[in-house]
Each structure stands twice: as C-alpha cells, then as structure tokens.
C-alpha cells in the first residue's frame, strides 16, 4: 500500500520483480485471481482432517493449562519452583519470551510500512495475528504470578474504596500500561487493515450466516475512494504510532530488570539488547509459521522463497545485534570492576552443574547457529530455516531463563544463595500457553483472510495507472 493517495509508487511497478531482483508480488495473478485465491481459503476450502487433528492436539494443551491454572488458584504460586531467592522463574521467562515474539509482527506491519518495504504485504497479516496471540499468551503469566490473580485490577488506576493508587514510579506498573497498550494497538491495527478484506468476504460468501458475520465485522465498508484516502492516512499514522510503541514495550519489559539493583540486571544496555532479542525471536517465529502455511495453503506464489530469504537476513542481523549485547554485557561488567556483578557473569559461564550449560547452549543457538544464514543457498532452503528458527526460539527462551535465574540465585549475600528447579506445573503452564497460541492461530488461519487482499491487489502491475503486463 502506498503511503498516501497523492504519492505515486509507479517506479517499480512495470516488472513483477523489485529493483533488487527479488519477487514479492505474486507472478501471473490479476485482481480476480488474487481475490478468488485468498477468499477461497476462507469460504470454499473444506475443513481438513489435518487441521482438525492439529486443532484437537492444541486444545489438549489448553486443557493442560486449565488444570495447571486451576491448581494454581487453589494452592498458590508455591506449586511452581520459585522460592527465595529465586522468586521469578518460568512465569517471567515465559512472559518475556512471548512478548518478544510479538515484536516482529509489529515491526513487519508498522515499521516496514513506513519504510515502504513492499515485501511486507504477503506476510503482514500472519505476523500481526502472531503478535496478538503471542501478547495474549504473555499477558497470562504476570497475572498468574501475582499470587492473588483475582485482584489483578488493583494494577489499574481506578477510584477505589481503599483510596489507593498504583505506584506509577514502578517499572512493573509501566509494564501494565505498556503491554495493555501494545495489545490494544496491535488489535486495532490488525482489525483496521482487515476491514476491506472482510468486506470482500461479505460480498463473496454464499452463506447467509457468513454474510451477516462478515458484514457486521466489515462495518459497512464500501470501498469508496474518499474512504480509502482517509483509511490510508489513518493506517500510516497507526504505523507511525506503533513503531515507537514496539520499541518502548520491550524497553519497559527490560526495565523490570534494569531498574532493580540485582547484579547483572542493573544494566543500561538492557533496553536495546532486549528489543533486538525480541525481534530476533519474533522473526524466527514468523518463519516457522509462514513455511507450513505456504505449503498447506498452496501459497508459494504469494509467500515466495524471496520472502523467506529476506526474513532470514533479518534473523541474521538481529542475531548479530543480540550477540553484541552478550559481548557488551560481559565486557562492561569486567570493565566496571564491580565484584558482585563480575562474579555473576563468571558464574553464568563457568557454573557447570548450575546454569553454565544453559548459557553455552543459548550462545550456540543465538550466536553460532544463525551464522549459516550468511549463505544465500542456505537461506533459500526451508528445512534450514525451520531448524535455525526452532533453535533460535529455544535459545531466546534460555536467554531469558539464564538472565532471571543466575542473577537471582547468586545475590549479594552468599548465605542466601539458592538454585531454581522447575516443577511439572511450570512446564504445564508453559506448554499450555503454547496451546493457547496454536488454537488462536489455527482459528485465524481458518476463518480470517490470512493475506491482505486489498494490499496485494495494489501491488499488481498496472494497479495505479497504465496497464502493463496484464
């Protein structure tokens, strides 16, 4: 989609390929075939056994979550492995991991929109959906970790009989605002971008129920050029607002750590380092979702190998940024000469039998493995991308786990050192949240247009003037 109605995007229109020789626009398609293909995925494709089976397994994981949460509500957070000194364990690790994954979705949808990167068009809807579902999963964990989750609304500023306010000076309250804003704005952005496509579904569906549901969701959108004019401006502005937002969210999350005085948490490098890691894990997740989708839905001409290639490049770039964070953390703690901090780092990398094996695994996953993406031939092999993405997701989870457990278990007082050992309920809650993500994503992939039809149409040759190649 162009930036505004007054601007021309004709420069790279005549050919199907961009100036870099990459193919991001579906080859050999026209307005009719794009519409039929994408809306057909929703409207005419039967529900397959594969989808049902996957959906069933995912719902099984959600049941596991229900059991884990029910037991948590009855007994309390003591069912997890957390104790003093390691009072943050899996729950906060899972929270940071999930919310980080969401960041790539906003980056693709908002930042690449501002940068006029047209390759976002085939994947932005999928990436935005991933963001929303990942933030949903992330939001579960701090709430469950509260101890008395039924008082979660005490986090919000509202007039109350206790005559109390939240402590706005606390990074934990910033987190409430940042995550809530992030979820709301992502949902708004996703929904707004989908309105024209919902109108297409309304106009194409054969069933009356479908016409009513999609009709209500489309809010009476009728594709007026005047409406499009304001729509494009509002969409661009939303992108402009979402871009600094996404940077702020993980910066605030990192402040949960950086604003404390815990050794190796109290770091100025944390905000950029966390944001880079977030985008890193998020792109890995986008790749992991796009590769099966392009096969199952036969979308190889929409989500091309060039899309995977360019995302792999971003995985590599953010891997380098994150690795720079590791390096800077270590070297600055040595340079600062703070004994406790330096000890914590030393402990991280040499405490075999404690956490060092985790530290080295994450270095391997996050720094060494992505280096294969320097090679174009490997970037264009799907199985390579799947393996790299899986390892990156594991590595980024371990990174947050390492940061939380090593610092807390070796605090200033050696007499209160401890060791975090997860319980079965830690694992059940984590895998349950994966189930929530999968269920939401499968429903999305079945009932919503997974590619933006209106944006894809606008990229076709001749879409804005003289007919070329049609």
């Amino acid at each position: 989609m162009g930036a505004s109605a007054t601007e021309t995007v004709k420069d790279d229109m005549p050919g199907q390929r961009g100036s870099d020789g990459m193919q991001y626009v579906p080859m050999g398609h026209d307005l009719t075939s794009v519409t039929e293909k994408i809306s057909g995925l929703v409207l005419t494709r039967p529900i397959g056994l594969g989808w049902l089976g996957f959906f069933g397994v995912s719902n099984g994981l959600v049941l596991v979550l229900f059991i884990a949460v029910a037991y948590l509500l009855v007994v309390g957070v003591g069912i997890w492995g957390i104790q003093i000194p390691t009072a943050w364990g899996f729950a906060i690790t899972d929270f940071v991991w999930w919310i980080g994954i969401g960041h790539a979705g906003t980056l693709i949808s908002a930042f690449l929109l501002l940068m006029h990167q047209k390759w976002r068009t085939s994947i932005n809807r999928i990436a935005e959906a991933m963001t929303i579902f990942a933030v949903m999963c992330a939001g579960l964990f701090p709430l469950l970790h509260l101890g008395r989750p039924w008082f979660f609304y005490w986090l919000l500023p509202y007039p109350n009989t206790m005559a109390l306010w939240p402590q706005f000076r606390s990074a934990l309250i910033w987190d409430v605002f940042a995550v809530a804003t992030y979820f709301t704005v992502s949902l708004l952005f996703w929904y707004m971008g989908m309105i024209p496509d919902l109108a297409t579904l309304r106009d194409r569906t054969a069933s009356r129920v479908g016409r009513i549901i999609y009709g209500m969701l489309a809010l009476g959108w009728r594709n007026s050029a005047r409406h499009w004019h304001r729509f494009e401006m509002a969409y661009l502005l939303l992108g402009g607002l979402a871009t600094p937002l996404v940077v702020s969210v993980h910066s605030v999350v990192s402040s949960d750590f950086a604003m404390s005085v815990v050794p190796a948490w109290h770091e100025t490098v944390f905000p950029p380092y966390f944001v880079a890691g977030a985008i890193f894990s998020g792109f890995a997740m986008v790749l992991l979702l796009c590769i099966p989708i392009r096969h199952v839905y036969h979308l190889k001409d929409f989500i091309t190998i060039d899309h995977l290639d360019v995302m792999a490049k971003l995985v590599l770039a953010t891997s380098l940024l994150t690795s720079y964070g590791y390096l800077s953390e270590q070297s600055l703690s040595w340079y600062a000469g703070d004994n406790v901090e330096w000890y914590t780092y030393f402990f991280r990398i040499t405490g075999f039998g404690q956490y060092a094996i985790i530290t080295w695994t994450l270095f391997f996953c996050n720094t060494i493995v992505p280096q294969v993406l320097w090679f174009r031939s490997l970037r264009r092999k799907e199985w390579v991308l799947v393996i790299v993405s899986l390892l990156v997701l594991v590595g980024m989870w371990l990174e947050r786990y390492m940061i939380i457990t090593t610092s807390l278990s070796r605090d200033y007082l050696p007499s209160s050192w401890g060791f975090f050992k997860p319980t079965i309920w830690d694992l059940a809650t984590y895998f349950g949240s994966v189930g929530v993500f999968l269920v939401a994503f499968l429903l999305f992939a079945r009932f919503a247009p997974i590619l933006s039809m209106s944006e894809t149409r606008a990229l076709l040759p001749g879409a804005h003037g003289p007919e070329v190649g049609r």
Binding site: A5, T6, W174, G220, R226, R230, L237, G462, G465
Partner: protein, 182 residues
C-alpha cells in the same frame, strides 16, 4: 404513466484503474462534484481526481495524542504529588522523569484510537446499509472492478443527460440506476 422512483445516483463499471482515473477526471472537468469512485484497493491519485484535498485525520490523531499524553501525565501528577504523597527517601513528589513511560504509552493508546475512530467517523462508518448495495454488480467493487457513481444530489445531475454523459466514458456494461431504499 407513474413517475419513476427517485434514484440515489447513476453508476458505471470499469475494468482497469486507468479507466476509472480517466473517467473521474472527465466527469470533474465536465463539472460534476457530488460523485465517488469505488475501487477494490486504494488507487493512487483517485481521491485527488475526486477533488479531495488534505484529510483531517492527522489533526484528529495529533489532538488525540496530546490529550492522551496530557491526561496520562496529570493523572500521575495528581496521584503521586497531590492525592497520595509518599516520601521515598526525600525524593520530590513530582518525580516527572518516571512519569514519562506511562505518559508515552497513553499518548500512543489515545492517538491510535483517534486514528481508527477518526477515520471511521469522517467516513460516516459504520453504516451497514447503503443504496449502492442494492446493485448486484457492486459486490465486485470489493473484488476486481472499479465503479464511478454520480449522485443525484449533484447540482448538474440530470437523469437523462448524466446517463448520456456516463455512456460516453466507455464503461463496461450499461449505465446503472442506483435505486433509493424504499
């Protein structure tokens, strides 16, 4: 002979973006103003051909953002510097630097809602029904066809003359009369 029922406007269909751009330009040159084009995606420059200048959406978003930021900051100032003062090691009650993150988040939150709601309100949406939906072919405006509608409220609108003019634009198919709702 009973008089024909009033119409909402006259509608013509085109197959390409270039045709709708040319047709809109012609209609405007001839003097029509109350008209609108309907396209399956935003066609660059079409809103300009329709005579639209700058939209008011950016102003709405700016106001929304300022309100969000202002309310966000004042809320924290009121809570922690006036209503519930809390001495933390002698630090000032109005510790404004730590109010900035929430101020920023509320700027984004209210600004984003202003963008969405501003766009909807300025567009007159949601409007579940519209006379144009009475035309069966119009369903393709969200798929693969381009439409131009000259509305009956236009000063120059004349059922016969306008239809004759639209026919000269080489539309795909006939000129369609868009019925008003009963």
């Amino acid at each position: 002979m009973t008089p024909r029922p009033p119409v909402y406007g006259l509608l013509v269909e085109f197959v390409t973006a270039q045709e709708i751009l040319d047709a809109t330009r012609r209609a405007r040159q001839v003097g029509y103003r109350q008209m609108d084009a309907y396209t399956p995606y935003p066609v660059d420059g079409l809103a300009v051909e329709l005579g639209m200048r700058k939209s008011r959406v950016p102003f709405v978003v700016l106001m929304g953002g300022l309100v969000g930021a202002g309310v966000g900051f004042l809320m924290q100032y009121y809570a922690l510097a006036i209503n519930y003062t809390f001495n933390v090691g002698g630090r000032p009650y109005n510790s404004w630097p730590v109010f900035i993150p929430i101020t920023f988040e509320l700027l984004i939150l209210v600004g984003s809602f202003s963008a969405f709601l501003g766009m909807m309100v300025l567009n007159g949406l949601p409007r579940p029904h519209h006379p144009l939906f009475n035309v069966p072919q119009f369903a393709r405006s969200s798929q693969d066809r381009f439409f131009l509608c000259i509305e009956a409220t236009d000063a120059k609108f004349d059922r016969e003359a306008t239809a004759a003019f639209l026919a000269t634009l080489n539309p795909h198919g006939d000129v369609i009369e868009v019925p008003h709702d009963a």
